[in-house]
């Protein structure tokens, strides 16, 4: 309900400050981001001064120390990062390469869609982590099982998003392309892929996030290398600084990969 002013007319509305709709100046944006990061680290520094917290949460200094010791001598740190990244890229890459044509076929042939969609929707609801025991039984503890789990999880996430993108392609564009003599193959490469490209990039971002989640889950069992395995190992020795180092490393990797895709988006979808 509207509240009534006792005196009836209460004069003109107080004028608000005029506001530009937009992100504001770049400089201000950067400054706020910097303040946010620095105060976050400061807060972390302060709370880890409390002994009861410090028993499970290592301080920035301790994490930095862990980073130095992990990169020194046998260079364990970079080996873990490299093997984890390899798992992410192989699994994600396979998922991406399969998701595009399958999504296209689903968007193009209703019969194919009816055939595969129930399965995709069904498996999509299952957390990929639940598949790990089965995949290990089938493929063993080696790299193949890691690639497979990441492939399945990223494929399912991406195929649904790309399918949505294919469906939203303006059919008039397809008709127009046909009038210029395009074949179905031309439609796929020259119309569908570029028109759905923004969706493909969104799918890639979701896929990367999913890949990292699945990666850590897959590495927590039966493997000696990789960030997940390192976290698991350090936990058993109560080495919280290495645990935290691993967690931060995953965050940094996820953030960096996401930024790379955003950069690609900025460069390629100026037309949007």
């Amino acid at each position: 309900m509207f509240s009534k002013s006792k005196s009836g007319y209460s004069g003109p509305r107080k004028s608000r400050k005029l506001k530009d709709f937009g992100d504001g100046p770049k400089k201000t944006q950067r400054l706020i981001t910097a303040v946010s990061i620095i105060s976050g680290i400061l807060l972390w520094f302060i709370i880890t001064k409390i002994p009861s917290i410090n028993t499970f949460l290592a301080s920035p200094k301790q994490v930095f120390g862990a980073f130095m010791s992990e990169t020194a001598a046998n260079n364990r740190y970079w080996k873990d990062i490299a093997i984890s990244l390899q798992r992410v890229f192989v699994g994600f890459g396979l998922g991406f390469l399969c998701a595009i044509p399958i999504a296209f076929l689903m968007g193009w042939y209703p019969k194919f869609r009816n055939l595969v969609e129930p399965w995709i929707q069904f498996f999509r609801t299952i957390p990929p982590i639940a598949l790990i025991p089965l995949v290990i039984l089938a493929l063993g503890l080696g790299e193949k099982s890691k690639y497979t789990v990441i492939f399945i999880s990223t494929f399912l996430v991406m195929v649904v998003t790309i399918f949505q993108g294919i469906r939203e392609v303006d059919r008039t564009l397809v008709k127009a392309a046909y009038t210029f003599g395009a074949t179905d193959k031309n439609i796929f490469f020259d119309i569908m892929i570029p028109a759905a490209f923004p969706f493909i990039l969104v799918a890639a971002r979701l896929g990367i996030a999913t890949a990292l989640t699945t990666l850590i889950a897959a590495e927590l069992t039966g493997t000696t290398f990789g960030i997940g395995a390192r976290i698991q190992g350090a936990q058993q020795f109560m080495n919280t600084s290495i645990v935290l180092l691993g967690i931060i490393s995953i965050g940094v990797i996820g953030y960096a990969l996401d930024k790379i895709i955003l950069l690609i988006e900025k460069k390629t979808t100026r037309w949007k």
């Binding site: 303006d170 008039t172 564009l173 008709k175 127009a176 046909y178 009038t179 210029f180 003599g181 395009a182 074949t183 031309n186 020259d190 119309i191 570029p194 028109a195 490209f197 979808t269 100026r270 037309w271 949007k272």
Partner: protein, 261 residues
């Protein structure tokens, strides 16, 4: 016969409506279009004029009848017919120039340099010099339709099929594009098959106006417009123009009254 470009004979098309009566979109439609003719089709919405254009474009099927171009059955879309859609149908990820060059891509006839030169020629024709590297989202509706027209002309089709191309534009832009289209047609003499619901537009542009009725979609009358070309907006002040206009309006309006009785 040699002069006849498009031959439409007894074409029927029915949409099956689930749980309702079937809709006869086109019933026994017969029409011949000669080379260099400018044919406008007018009629109330739902009279099947767009369906007829799509059939000639090869983008829609029909139930019975004959649709031929130069004696060959039309079995699908092809670059011998340039199609202009009301919604422009420009590829948003391509610049103006890339859109126009795209039209020529599958002809496998031109080198990259030739495509560039041809696109230049048609960019000049539609007065878009300076906008070559703009994306469609940066253009107004009228400019977008100019690009679509340039793109269709660049493949040198035998006929231009235009489906209410100026329907979404404001009055001034529309008048300007009508004149531009007249100039182009007077010069290139590319046969035009033009759908509109605007009687003024039809009489101004056409050498022949086809009046269609709805439910079922049928050809009611064909009116030859004997106004000399070149024409422009001032042609609308001509007495003879108004005679044609009133005659066509009369038929269209009577149909409207009948349908809404």
């Amino acid at each position: 016969m040699s002069d006849n470009l498009i031959h439409i004979e007894n074409v029927n098309k029915t949409y099956v409506v689930k749980g309702g009566d079937d809709v006869e979109v086109l019933k026994n439609v017969s029409l011949d279009i000669s080379n260099n003719e400018f044919v406008c089709v007018v009629g109330p919405s739902g009279c099947g004029k767009t369906t007829l254009l799509n059939i000639v474009a090869g983008l829609e099927t029909f139930n019975s009848g004959l649709v031929q171009m130069e004696g060959q059955n039309i079995i699908g879309p092809g670059p011998d017919r340039g199609v202009i859609f009301q919604q422009y149908a420009l590829f948003p990820w391509m610049t103006v120039r890339k859109n126009i060059e795209y039209g020529m891509k599958y002809l496998n006839k031109y080198t990259a340099k030739e495509k560039y030169e041809i696109s230049d020629k048609y960019i000049k024709m539609v007065n878009l010099v300076g906008f070559e590297n703009f994306y469609p989202k940066e253009l107004s509706g009228g400019m977008k339709q100019r690009v679509a027209i340039a793109r269709a002309y660049a493949i040198s089709p035998k006929v231009m099929l235009m489906d209410e191309p100026f329907g979404a534009l404001d009055a001034q832009t529309r008048a300007q594009l009508q004149e531009d289209l007249l100039r182009t047609w007077e010069k290139e003499k590319t046969t035009c098959f033009f759908i509109t619901h605007d009687v003024d537009e039809a009489v101004l542009l056409a050498s022949k106006v086809v009046i269609m009725s709805s439910k079922p979609g049928q050809i009611k009358e064909i009116v030859k417009i004997d106004l000399p070309y070149p024409r422009n907006q001032a042609t609308k002040l001509d007495d003879q123009f108004n005679v044609y206009k009133n005659h066509i309006w009369d038929i269209v309006y009577k149909m409207y009254l009948e349908v809404n009785k």
